[in-house]
């Protein structure tokens, strides 16, 4: 929605306008998910796994998305494990070139009665790290660039804390119990989200992996749509819903939640997605990770950016947390392609 009458904007203004579907000077380049790479880690000497646990390293690495790559946002929560770690899940921290992961084969909950958000949920080192990193970034960059936090949705927390298969079987065997479990887990989502806003986040990514690769669109309606609408009321900042995989069959429902944006996967075509959501929600995406960003050259990245811009996608960025081996050239190609596309209009 580029408007030639719009004065030059700061990156932050651009992203916030994009989230509201208001006029922008150019399409924002936005990363609701991580753009950390092993080379950027070396560049600023902030490596995984420590960069997931040390606020200064976290902030320093995340800032490269803006200072080096030219994105309009900084998103310091590289992985999806902070809440689960604070809830008590067993973690595997891995090494520099791999993601920290929850040991979902060692679930901490079996039944709804087991669900508990501990008193120290926000002071646990892994949640506290995020809050501190956001504060550091806000202090350094002020209102220059959008700081995006991240809070995991209850469906994903269900996978982490119950185990994927037990949780999915429960969703089939006992929908009532599943809904109750989601109700209880959502408190973690809200608490952590609100805390990040108080720390200075301008928006929040809310990953909730009810993906078409695992569950039906009807599941989204049954279990999550109303809850996601509730989050819009309870978490006072623009929310960016993130669901990986095929999601066209649930995009209409997602568009009705009132969330500011949907971060969509490359398995969904930009134009088709835009036709479904019809300006009821901003779309962010959807540059393919495993084939394009990871394995192809800047020209291929350029082409995907243009496909999104041609479709009118509101903000452009990778579809999900990028592979850690992604080349910096491919990442630089994204804002470059956006600028060139606009210059050619």
């Amino acid at each position: 929605m580029e408007n030639m009458q719009v004065q030059p904007m700061t990156s932050r203004e651009r992203v916030l306008a994009g989230l509201r579907r208001q006029p922008v000077d150019r399409t924002p380049v936005c990363n609701p998910t991580s753009v950390a790479t092993v080379e950027l880690m070396d560049l600023v000497d902030a490596h995984f796994p420590q960069a997931n646990r040390d606020p200064e390293m976290m902030a320093r690495l995340a800032a490269t998305g803006y200072t080096e790559l030219g994105f309009d946002s900084i998103m310091p929560v590289f992985s999806i494990i902070q809440e689960s770690s604070a809830l008590g899940c067993a973690m595997q921290w891995e090494q520099k070139d791999n993601w920290p992961t929850v040991r979902m084969r060692e679930p901490i909950w079996r039944d709804v009665e087991d669900i508990k958000i501990p008193d120290d949920f926000l002071t646990h080192p892994d949640t506290a790290c995020v809050l501190e990193a956001i504060k550091l970034l806000k202090k350094e960059f002020g209102d220059e660039v959008a700081i995006i936090g991240k809070t995991m949705g209850p469906w994903t927390l269900g996978y982490h804390c119950f185990g994927v298969e037990p949780f999915l079987l429960m969703s089939l065997d006992d929908p009532g119990k599943t809904k109750l479990a989601l109700e209880r887990m959502k408190d973690a989502t809200i608490k952590f989200g609100v805390a990040q806003i108080e720390a200075g986040a301008d928006a929040l990514t809310l990953p909730d992996h009810a993906t078409g690769d695992l569950v039906s669109g009807e599941y989204y309606d049954r279990y999550l749509k109303d809850m996601h609408a509730e989050f819009v009321d309870l978490i006072p900042c623009p929310l960016i819903l993130h669901i990986c995989g095929r999601t066209v069959d649930r995009m209409n429902s997602i568009a009705e939640t009132g969330m500011a944006a949907f971060h969509f996967d490359s398995k969904n075509k930009p134009q088709e997605s835009m036709d479904i959501v019809r300006q009821r929600i901003s779309l962010i995406g959807n540059i393919n990770n495993p084939e394009t960003l990871y394995a192809k050259e800047p020209d291929a990245v350029h082409a995907e950016v243009c496909a999104n811009l041609d479709a009118g996608v509101h903000m452009v960025g990778p579809e999900c947390a990028i592979p850690l081996q992604t080349s910096i050239q491919n990442l630089l190609a994204i804002p470059r392609a956006v600028r060139e596309w606009h210059a050619a209009q």
């Binding site: 993601w99 298969e165 079987l169 569950v215 592979p323």
Partner: protein
Amino acid sequence: MADLKNIANEIIRREIEEYVERPDEIERNVELFSRTRPLMQEIAAALIEGNDGAVDQLTKKALDQDIDALEIMDDGLIAGMGIVGIKFRDNFIFVPEVLACARAMKAGMTYIEPILSASGVEPLATVVMGTVKGDLHDIGKNLCIMMLRGSGFNVVDLGVDTSDDEFIDAVEEHKAPILGMSALLTTTMPNMGKTIEAFIDADLREDVKIMVGGAPVTQEFADDMGADAYGKDALDCVAVAKGFVSVQA
């Protein structure tokens, strides 16, 4: 060509009519269910509906009627899982339903497996399956395992975060002719190549066919890494494994 009307069980007829669309699969399933006895069709129908309690009871009933364990497995359980696999591939059902069907299959196999082992009947082949080192995701691998077991393979599941040595030890211990590796992350996908090189270094590469799969994996990556085959989904994994067996037969 066999007729749907020759299938006694109404649920099976409906499942084929509503969910099986490819002509070759229609023909194969109609022919299969037309010749199986009604009780086997009941077992298959119960499995397709994810009713583990019914599969348990019907399997016991069939054994009490002196029906051969192999026939129960082939014509009841595996036949049912065949329909489940098609429905899953074509997005009529999703992972929760497949998990329920696999649970039902397991209920039946609890009775069948000991009988088959005792009578020396061999599975199609033994497949060692694992998610590679550094990767803790297993839902894709587990779906493949369910489908492989549902197709008559014996599967040794190494779980997640599997090292080269663990893959090698398992292949040697079980004399498995097939190894399947899964990775969900681009960061862990290269470990497939490392494991394959470990097999080469251990002079074991020729003893095993290696298939790979997972969200970031493509045919090109599979070829680059030195795998024998790439399976794009759980049903494809079974087709690949069957292809390996047919080459070795």
